[in-house]
């Protein structure tokens, strides 16, 4: 089995807020991330798939195909958007880096599996160069 990773970037704004909590509690837990005017990041997304190498093509997956899937399923929805206000899953889910990683997994799992040959192995989302979250479908 080979692990193959494709990287992509998107820029988006967000804020952290739990509507079940008081303003004060949101400030205590989320600090500056609770500013409801939002703030933004340049996110780096790493999509890792795993599978056998096709003897015909020498590919695990066609990287151009994977790029197109990431663009259609993720970047077209997330890039240059306000995650809280414009991306459906974050209407009820706080757009932390952890939840972004899980949400991107959910967006990509079906199309990757449907293509046959490869499985989604890992989603890694960098919020900054020093902060990242991973989801491995566990």
């Amino acid at each position: 089995m080979i692990l193959l990773t494709r990287r992509a970037t998107f820029s988006a704004s967000h804020y952290y807020w739990n509507p079940d909590w008081s303003e004060e509690q949101n400030q205590v837990v989320f600090g500056r991330c609770a500013n409801r005017n939002g703030h933004g990041h340049n996110y780096t997304l790493e999509v890792t798939v795993t599978g056998p190498v096709s003897p015909l093509s020498g590919f695990v997956v066609d990287l151009k195909w994977l790029k197109d899937v990431i663009e259609r399923e993720v970047l077209d929805v997330y890039d240059h958007r306000h995650l809280n206000h414009e991306v459906p899953e974050f209407a009820t889910l706080i757009p932390t880096t952890e939840n972004i990683a899980v949400s991107i997994w959910k967006r990509l799992e079906a199309p990757v599996t449907a293509a046959g040959g490869a499985q989604l192995s890992r989603i890694r989302v960098y919020e900054t160069g020093d902060i990242f979250a991973e989801y491995r479908g566990e």
Binding site: V29, V102, I131, E138
Partner: protein, 137 residues
Amino acid sequence: MKAYFTRAYTISASHRLHTDSLSADENRTTFGKCNNPHGHGHNYRIEVTVGGQIDPATGMVINMATLDAVVHQQVVARFDHMNLNLDPLFANQVSTTENLSIAIFNLLQPALEPAILEKVRIEETENNFFEYSGAEH
């Protein structure tokens, strides 16, 4: 749903690779430039990975403020702008980055509980890095 959260921290420290159990010549042969008697230093980049369920109330595996406080107390305050060889942890072992990774993992693991420390990864330079995931791995 289990997710992993990683945050990187930077410390600058000096060290010298040397062991009293080898002769001066053997130390020079084994450790090369790293055995320079006056020591040398690095900007170490330490990645700390915590794993666990995402708390539905916060969307987080661990609050980064909590992680920052523990790492600063246990690691940054202790090692940043210090000579690693003078720390008691390295009184009886060479201050390689392998040993530093294990030492930092063992400092952080109990301090982070109930959060679960998954891995410590240290870049000594951008071309050298070391990982430790605990004794059971």
